[in-house]
């Protein structure tokens, strides 16, 4: 279906974010369409993770607009154009539509795998426990973890924990999945099992925004690769183009370093 323009799920318009005096995001514009997989690459401190955290309002942007399904995230404008923070309830409702996977997994350590996956559907969405469990078991099976259903996170490897975290996010049936360096905390031999799950998701048409250092994954899976540096999007394009003939010197320099290291 490539080439056919699908509905825009997320639109980011000149978003700025400061941490004290530090101008972390310096006017980000971005559009994510249904079914797209976009990889964000760039040196550390370039604002990639902050952008992701702004998209589900874990960080609050100071200027600009983020639209999810055309609805503003976090801030609305009143009749006189003043920026007002939305109610907690509205923000939570928007967040529930966005799945997020963290670098450090952040599974709830006091709950089994199954309870981690059903917790939000039952307590946030109000799904019945039976329904939530049958859906959770299906997701856990899809992640290849059926024998770990009743294990606690501390009994799992990093790769297994990250796959549970993906199942937990999917259980909310999100419209988009955000991945914040999902394999950076993993031992090298565990990276592939997580990437394989993410490949399957992309193939099934999930809309995904992935901050990653895995250039091989980006080359294989991404519809578009976005290169960020110092709080701006420097360059973006299809992976084949961007990896082979990046135009900006900063992207060329970054890619040279990263690709040299992978070889």
């Amino acid at each position: 279906m490539r080439g056919v323009l699908k509905q825009v799920i997320v639109r980011v318009e000149s978003v700025h974010k400061w941490f004290g005096p530090l101008h972390v995001l310096q006017g980000i514009d971005m559009e994510i369409r249904a079914g797209e997989t976009i990889c964000i690459i760039g040196p550390s401190g370039s604002g990639k993770s902050t952008l992701l955290r702004c998209l589900n309002f874990l960080e609050e942007h100071e200027a600009g607009t983020i639209l999810l399904d055309g609805q503003p995230m976090g801030f609305s404008e009143d009749s006189e154009g003043r920026r007002i923070r939305q109610s907690e309830r509205d923000i939570n409702r928007m967040r529930a539509k966005i799945g997020m996977v963290f670098q450090s997994f952040n599974l709830w350590t006091h709950m089994t795998v199954l309870r981690n996956v059903i917790e939000a559907p039952v307590n946030v969405k109000g799904v019945s426990r039976i329904e939530a469990e049958s859906r959770a078991l299906e997701l856990i099976r899809r992640m290849g973890l059926e024998d770990k259903t009743n294990a606690y996170p501390s009994q799992l490897s990093g790769g297994q924990q990250q796959r549970v975290a993906i199942a937990r996010a999917l259980a909310m049936e999100p419209e988009i999945m955000l991945f914040d360096e999902p394999t950076s905390a993993l031992d090298p031999e565990l990276v592939e099992e997580v990437l394989a799950v993410m490949r399957d998701l992309a193939r099934d048409g999930m809309t995904m925004l992935v901050v990653t250092h895995e250039m091989g994954f980006a080359a294989d899976v991404a519809d578009r690769v976005v290169f960020m540096d110092q709080g701006i999007i420097v360059e973006e394009g299809p992976p084949a183009e961007l990896f082979r003939e990046a135009k900006s010197p900063r992207a060329v320099q970054f890619l040279a370093k990263v690709i040299q290291r992978t070889r």
């Binding site: 874990l58 967040r95 799945g99 599974l107 350590t109 006091h110 939000a120 606690y152 975290a165 996010a169």
Partner: protein
């Protein structure tokens, strides 16, 4: 933040002085309290600050990512605290609370100074009548010891019941290091 200020004020001044202020200085402001009320009030305030500080410490011992992932699935702050943070902070909180409670039992002996008839005061009365120094103080010490031991045993049981699933996940937290450093 007035609560923060109250905690800092009470945590950084000696209990004995707080007790004197409440019992001897408040009447000059027109508030006269009975011995029992003054004793109860000062010990409660003192205990409250330590409990508050332990709870604050336990909450901040739960890794930040736990709250992030709870908010990311759409939980409200209150729901995230109840379902995610509170159950996990118990592992950090219970050892600190045990320390706090033992401290409070022992600190109650200071209340004898304003003539509250508690255990230490009673031992001095016995001492005055019998002159049996060794016996009186040994029995008193044993009474405190049995109380604190009962607390320790009860709390250990509670800790075992809440900690079954945190396999090797517990590390020493700042909350556990908060001990009574008053003299």
């Amino acid at each position: 933040m007035p609560a923060r200020m109250l905690v800092e004020l009470l945590r950084n001044t000696p209990f004995l002085i707080q007790l004197f202020l409440i019992y001897y200085a408040l009447p000059s402001l027109g508030v006269s309290l009975s011995v029992a009320t003054a004793a109860l009030l000062s010990l409660s305030l003192f205990a409250g600050t330590y409990f508050a500080e332990s709870i604050r410490g336990a909450i901040s011992s739960v890794p930040r990512g736990q709250m992030d992932s709870a908010r990311a699935v759409g939980m409200s702050y209150a729901l995230a605290m109840r379902r995610i943070i509170f159950p996990q902070m118990l592992g950090y909180l219970l050892p600190a609370l045990t320390n706090n409670m033992i401290g409070i039992v022992k600190f109650s002996s200071i209340l004898s100074i304003i003539t509250l008839p508690e255990v230490t005061m009673a031992s001095q009365i016995v001492l005055g009548e019998t002159f049996s120094v060794t016996e009186a103080f040994t029995v008193t010490a044993l009474l405190y010891w049995s109380l604190t031991t009962a607390i320790t045993m009860g709390m250990s049981r509670l800790e075992r019941r809440t900690a079954t699933h945190r396999l090797g996940a517990i590390t020493i937290s700042p909350a556990q290091l908060i001990v009574f450093n008053h003299k």
